[in-house]
Symmetry: C2
């Protein structure tokens, strides 16, 4: 019998703002996603996967570094990653694995550190792309403000549209993210009132299709050489607007009712109250807004699923399906009006819960194919999984995630007792001002165990939800005297987590052990390199 094919490649697929429950394999009753369901049937679907940051930048930097937000320090979008942080490419590239990006990273160049250190040019380029080779970078959000002019004009997708004859200063907006009015006027996708209309771009040229094209280009170009591809779709992230026919695949009758506490039962937590005052929350609290947006959100997901079908077919036709570890996930979710919130800046399931489907092609994983795993897994587990799958050394002194391979191979290792997610609203001046918090005391931290979700806040009481008896998180037990012990237990987890964040990252455990044996500090009678304290 021939040895099974080893894993040679990694395909790390990420959607942006895709809620965990908006795939049919995760239980959506109306949105059919047969291609992701096919991946789930061929791998393991994790039902309790959490992102470590609820917005793009923090979440993605956790994905690329394998570390918590408090460790990599990218507390919000637009915050640079410290140069000392190692990313996916730093771990894989030395092993000869081309590590490329197709799509979005939300990486922000660390200009201050680059100016101070002036690293050699190749390093500088990789640092600015958080370790990826930017085969096709598409961060996808280009407002008309002059601040974005340079970024938009140099974006390859802008060039792609222009080459196809899509005109204007901002074809990303005017064609891919806008509709046409009755008189040919441009109706912006920024306005949710236009969500039901078809985008002006042809579906074949839309962001989701072109991103898939480029992914296939990369894989084809790589041939039999090993690779790691981060395929990172901007959609279903807003602007909520889809090209035909995806704008009209779903109707208002397929929009699920909003998840909301009954009148008078809503949590009175001040931070929650402040976030309900955000414009997106006020708008999504309106039923007409939900009914106009959510069918399009579903259409955008359906389009991703169709494109993944095309990609998976390509992998199967080329043999890559059998030597590639495939991970599908999202960077965070979207409230879509649940809890009277929009966006994702709050640590409830709609925001922190992400889909996570992992396929290990090797026979060792046959035992779990098509199963659902309820372990508390995290975005930071992806990178350690890649390393183990590729047979590369881990980095115990840096990586805070855990390889999922034991779970994929049917083992039952002792697993983590809690998952962590963080959000810092210092950057959201309106909420911060409303709450009167100083700029360094705007943190929310989720500590989620199998049964309970505990949310710690700077300056305010915690919230607590019983996920068994209250899976929709409608009854806030954060001030309930009967649950003091549960809160204490979870505050203990929070302390444990803080205490064990990795803070000795410039020296490996192996090197510590090597030095410890070589020097034998303190050992009586031993021959020591530095003869301390001898008589």
């Amino acid at each position: 019998m021939p040895a099974p094919t080893p894993i040679r490649n990694v395909l790390y697929i990420m959607c942006d703002q895709l809620r965990r429950d908006y795939l049919s394999c995760y239980g959506h009753p109306h949105l059919q996603t047969p291609n992701l369901d096919r991946l789930a049937a061929a791998g393991v679907r994790f039902s309790r996967a959490y992102t470590q940051g609820t917005i793009c930048g923090p979440s993605r930097m956790s994905a690329y570094t394998g570390r918590y937000v408090s460790s990599h320090q990218v507390a919000w979008n637009g915050v640079p990653l410290p140069l000392d942080e190692l990313t996916l490419g730093d771990y894989l590239r030395p092993a000869g694995i081309r590590t490329a990006l197709v799509g979005k990273t939300h990486a922000t160049p660390n200009d201050a550190a680059l100016a101070r250190l002036q690293p050699h040019s190749e390093a500088a380029e990789q640092l600015s792309e958080v370790g990826f080779e930017a085969f096709f970078r598409h961060d996808g959000i280009y407002p008309d403000d002059p601040l974005f002019d340079a970024k938009r004009d140099s974006a390859p997708y802008t060039q792609y549209l222009r080459d196809l004859g899509y005109d204007g200063q901002n074809p990303w907006h005017d064609w891919a993210n806008a509709a046409a009015g009755e008189h040919g006027e441009i109706l912006s996708g920024w306005k949710m009132r236009n969500a039901h209309r078809p985008a002006r771009v042809a579906e074949a040229h839309s962001e989701t299709v072109h991103t898939t094209d480029r992914a296939i280009d990369f894989i084809a170009e790589q041939g039999e050489q090993p690779w790691c591809l981060h395929l990172s779709y901007i959609k279903p992230h807003w602007p909520y607007i889809a090209p035909a026919p995806y704008h009209a695949l779903y109707g208002r009758d397929q929009v699920l009712p909003a998840v909301r506490a009954a009148s008078g039962q809503r949590s009175d937590h001040p931070v929650y109250a402040a976030f309900r005052q955000h414009e997106e929350s006020l708008n999504f609290a309106r039923e007409d807004v939900r009914l106009n947006v959510i069918p399009t959100y579903m259409g955008l997901i359906k389009q991703v699923d169709d494109q993944l079908g095309r990609l998976f077919d390509y992998l199967q036709s080329t043999g890559r399906w059998d030597d590639t570890l495939i991970v599908f996930t999202s960077d965070h979710g979207d409230f879509l009006g649940d809890h009277e919130l929009g966006e994702k800046e709050f640590l409830l399931e709609q925001a922190v819960g992400v889909p996570l489907i992992v396929r290990d092609p090797r026979p060792a994983a046959d035992v779990t194919r098509g199963t659902v795993d309820r372990s508390l897994v995290q975005t930071i587990d992806a990178l350690p999984t890649f390393l183990e799958a590729l047979g590369l050394p881990g980095a115990e002194h840096r990586l805070e995630g855990r390889s999922l391979l034991p779970l994929l191979h049917g083992a039952s290792p002792a697993w983590r007792e809690y998952a962590i997610a963080e959000y810092d609203y210092a950057f959201q001046a309106p909420a911060r001002e409303r709450l009167g918090q100083p700029i360094d005391s705007c943190r929310m931290t989720m500590v989620c165990s199998q049964r309970w979700k505990y949310l710690a806040y700077d300056g305010f009481r915690p919230q607590l939800f019983d996920l068994h008896n209250d899976p929709h998180e409608l009854h806030d037990l954060g001030a309930d005297p009967a649950h003091a012990q549960v809160r204490e237990q979870h505050l203990g987890y929070l302390y444990h987590w803080l205490r064990n964040l990795k803070r000795r990252t410039t020296i490996s455990h192996e090197e510590i052990e090597r030095r410890g044996q070589r020097f034998r500090y303190g050992e009586p009678q031993a021959s020591k390199l530095v003869p301390i304290g001898e008589w």
Copy 2:
């Protein structure tokens, strides 16, 4: 009346391994240090100053970064500082202040990061010297092992001795740190049995004198241009051996009795027990060792004091006394047999307590001259003090220390409730193996309030000492049921400290505020840069 002279220079003097209680101004009954006493009389003496790390590297990196060990990550000697950490020179140099080193830093080049980033050469040089211009670097410890050959041969003090005719492969050892036997043989200073003998080097060429020479050279060279000088003596650090006449200034009758618990009252803490098994502890537990070493330790301190007298005279004769902020401190202490311990790897007062004397020359500080301040101050407070004294902006998102200027100027600000010190014995393989702890669970953390010292240990019960009623820390209350509440309070401080370590260092508070106002995320009806969630 003319405006008072502003502070233009900073003189940051550090001894190595100097215990807080081994100066006459700190109460030593036999060791007279009139020059440091003179500085104390002209400034403020802090009686409760703590280092953040009890060995050289961690303590010094806290001094140079203004951050706790867990933040800068240099958990032990020989661990590289992350390149993202900013140091003294990064803060001062942009203001045109030449920032130089004369003496020791214990900096370890971050070779892995330098190789990865290949920064431009000037940056690389500064990074390898943790931000200093190495006017005269002298780390001072050069064992004969080939590992140290290159470092020793390229050291300017080696060259200095050779130029004077001190011969041999290792003149640092053979002359400055060794004595001569009756037949002219070299008796190594590494052996504490030789501590009572005079070093072979002439006093005028000894480390302490030459280091002072170079400091005066630097100040003279700088003339009227502003400077920051880190004058960092290797002594009274071992090898415990002093040049004549300092080897013989003190006698055995001037050695204070060892601080030790009465028989049967000694703490049974396993980590404490493990450290008592170290060679230096076993030797210092012997009275003959103490009596042979401590007079020399005192002599080495006396020599530093004499040299500081020369330096202070120079400053006064050149006008620098009036426009220079002077700080005198040590990186950590030395047990010298107290608690049956040698060295400094344990968080009792002999190791974590450091002298700290600060002189602000301006009239605003006249109100406190000659006073003693009992506030809990820390090594990390020096850098923020320098910045405020020089009128430079702070860096609230990075610096974890606090400026001492308010205390120097007689204000009574709300001050910190606890001081922190850390030690990690992962690197000490014998203790780690004896205790059976994994390499990432060898941490000790001191939380010291005005009255209590709480010591937290990975994997073992805490220790607790009542500094009011038990200033010598002889009665371990860590398992005493009557003190559960005190322990809980200090565990709460530990949580508070962990929670508030600065973990958002790549973006300033000012920039967060600027962006917050510019984007106004979530503000209804506001004109926002990115139009999120609009209807």
